[in-house]
Symmetry: C2
Subunit: 121 residues, 2 copies
């Protein structure tokens, strides 16, 4: 049981596309991630995924549409929906998703991180 | 599928201790609530509950201890742990918890809101 200060946690790492776990509750994980550039198209067949932007401007591309998120805005990508985060400049983002989620869904990619390899902050 | 802007959503209501649902994912709900004063002691036997402070200063009293939360800080009250939120001044707070949660746990109180009576924003 500890208080999590988001600013302090975000200041503790610099690499991008590598989510860190800061809390677990009800089988879900709260993760912090920094993003820049284009991620890989993927979907999570059995998991809804929440993107909450803390700083920066994030585009979440969907097939045929996209959403734009700024600080203090969030979006839930429903399970099964293909998506690709794109960030022209650095974004700090909170993710909320089931503990079992694989970062790139069924896709194998250099960005893939298996759930059991996630770092805790 | 919609972008949720927290500032806009918080500006849309004024009453306190009445959580509003702004998103659902994986059987969990994301709720916004404004708090002031003292809530009622209670626990959620089967649900961990996350308090994420957006503005103001929130104390979460636990039996024998307490935690202090300011903007950009969050805390997870584990299932079964008795707690009481206390806010000397107005607090805007985001809650993450299972969709089935009753606001005051097993306690009946004027603040009690049944899950089926939650308002959506």
């Amino acid at each position: 049981m500890k208080v999590v200060n988001l600013q302090q946690k975000f200041a503790s790492f610099d690499d991008v596309w590598v989510p860190r776990v800061v809390a677990e509750l009800n089988g879900q994980m709260v993760k912090l991630v920094k993003l820049i550039g284009e991620y890989v198209w993927h979907a999570h067949e059995h998991a809804d995924e929440m993107f909450w932007v803390i700083s920066g401007e994030l585009t979440i591309e969907l097939r045929g549409s996209s959403v734009q998120l700024g600080p203090g805005e969030f979006f839930v990508v429903p399970r099964g929906v293909e998506h690709r985060p794109v960030a022209p400049n650095l974004v700090a983002c909170v993710l909320f998703e089931p503990a079992s989620v694989r970062s790139t869904g069924e896709v194998d990619h250099e960005y893939t991180i298996e759930p059991e390899h996630l770092e805790r902050l």
